[in-house]
Point group: none
Chain length 205, copies 4
């Protein structure tokens, strides 16, 4: 009982941190902002976390491990490479749909922060890239994708596309609603699949 409550409080502080990080960015977020968002004294933050940085690290790793797990499960349970890619895109988009603040922090403060947290979490990030690259290789082996594009580059294209949609929603460049979320998922996978389809005849020029 008591420990459950403690865990709740810890979680509520981490949620407060997520909200504050999402709103103001990590650097502009003060520990006291987080504490008052959570409705606690700032000292309590340090009862549950070692530092402000640790909160972001944990926040990221918690979520990223879900993505890795989801992709691993998709790899095992789904049939086609395309379904697997679609599952990966769906997981990311749906994560944003349900918890935009978490994903905003994950994307903006970590995966795209080449000088700070991105560097720290590079191993985890790379694991996701590798998983998508593996999906691509499966597609290549099935003859569904062209072989002359490296799976690494294809994975880059995939994440670039998905993250940019999130970026667009975050920056409010494009509307963020249910329809758009679903459209984005399909568009990304469809475009990648068409764009990297085996080449029979030249397209465009």
């Amino acid at each position: 009982m008591a420990s459950e409550k403690a865990a709740d409080k810890r979680r509520s502080i981490l949620e407060a941190a997520t909200k504050v990080f999402a709103e103001k960015g990590f650097h502009a977020s003060r520990v006291s902002d987080i504490a008052s968002e959570a409705g606690v004294a700032h000292g309590l933050v340090y009862h549950y976390f070692d530092s402000k940085e640790q909160m972001l690290n944990e926040l990221f790793s918690d979520r990223w491990s879900l993505l890795l797990a989801a992709m691993a499960e998709a790899d095992e349970t789904l049939e086609t490479p395309r379904e697997k890619l679609a599952a990966a895109a769906a997981f990311i988009v749906d994560s944003y749909r349900h918890q935009p603040e978490v994903m905003k922090v994950v994307i903006v403060e970590v995966t795209r922060a080449a000088n700070s947290f991105g560097r720290i979490h590079l191993p985890e990030i790379t694991r996701a890239y590798d998983q998508v690259a593996s999906f691509v290789e499966q597609a290549q082996q099935k003859g569904e994708m062209r072989n002359d594009v490296s799976s690494t580059d294809a994975s880059l294209l995939f994440f670039g596309a998905v993250e940019q949609f999130l970026s667009g929603w975050i920056f409010e460049l494009v509307p963020a609603n249910e329809e758009e979320f679903d459209r984005a998922k399909e568009l990304v996978v469809d475009t990648i699949y068409r764009g990297l389809a085996p080449i029979s005849e030249p397209v465009g020029d």
Copy 2:
């Protein structure tokens, strides 16, 4: 003469700032780091610039306006939408090729920094997005791209892909060399063009 020297000094300070920002990120960069990189007293930085932020703002706007100009010129001088898109991709990639530090700062510290400088420069960033969207619309009107995808989304895909390649080079996830630069340019444009080609028959599954 004297003013030329002054302009040189100013430029050398901005170059030092670029280097330092690229290495450590904006937040971790101290004005004194920039000053010592430039070989001047840190007070002198404030003779030429109002603030640390101003340096980044100027750095970004200088470069971004070149991109906007390049795209505008491409729009006027080049024939096909595909060539125009290719010119945009080439400009960005070649910018990185020649001045990776500038582009690292532009991408990492501004266009992807949704909570700080990205927000400030949103109008300029949007202008580039709109220009690419316009290229897409031209392609759509010529029947080279499917009409049921919004040009905005297509533009997002384009920038997502290009920036992710830069990200890959910055993070050292993929090798950064002449071949790769050229391959990336082509791959992005080709994939977008194929991926968004008018739909005749289903692809993939």
Copy 3:
């Protein structure tokens, strides 16, 4: 019975405090260090003690009152001033022999801490100095010590010498073993006695 247990717990906490204070010094010691050394929750410390300071105060006063009592008893039961001085030296050295941690705290954190606890406990400390001064006066009256040195100064010399031996052991400047303890006791008393012997003829130069 219950109260005995309580008293035991209280004592074990004070012992833990002694150990921690001796190891890290009062300022570097955290209440939680003491609690975990004692194997209790740190809140419990405040059930038995008002504050961290109180623990040191009590620790010191407990021990110092034993010294005062020992010297008072020596004054009453022993014959010669020299025996009394020897008893005082022996008590201090043997205290260190048996409980080096307690004496380390007493000396380092209190009697030599002129800006904090030393000031607070000055009355008790002075009482010990006065007692030794009284022994000296007795020796002077018996003609065993020179009269032209104030008993206060002689007392200072005595404590300076004894404490410095403790210091030497604490700092590990000199070996701390049974032999040394006994040698130190004798050396201090002997040297003081010889050094302050009535002057018949010049010594040294």
Copy 4:
């Protein structure tokens, strides 16, 4: 000129630190206390010093090196061991006479602080002890002191006595005036010399 002024400012801050440390002790001294004592913004303290600790370290080492130099010089220029010991005692006492705050800090915050700065500066402290021990050995070789007392122990007695006088002045246990300073110097050396004189016949009992 400019650098002279800068050096002056640095010195005035260190002097302010000395005064504040002497008054309140190192731990109770705030950097802002030092800054306002020096009449500067607290940020300036960090322009000249790395940390609060560095100020105490420098303060101590500056003074202690003077003591070591004085003793080395005494060793070279003076004739008799007794004169050398007297010079050592005189240097310490006169240091206190002229700059009681410096010496208070040196003694209270360093040489007697077994858990913090004393430990850090043990090598320097030991060097002084060794020098006095060397004086004692010289006296022993000249037959002026008993051989059966280790020079280390004798050195301990010497410093114990001298420091305890400083302690007495610091604690205001004994009056601190010119007469007393001179009396103390003589008393310490005289007592040590008599107390450790070669033994012909038993003294005291």
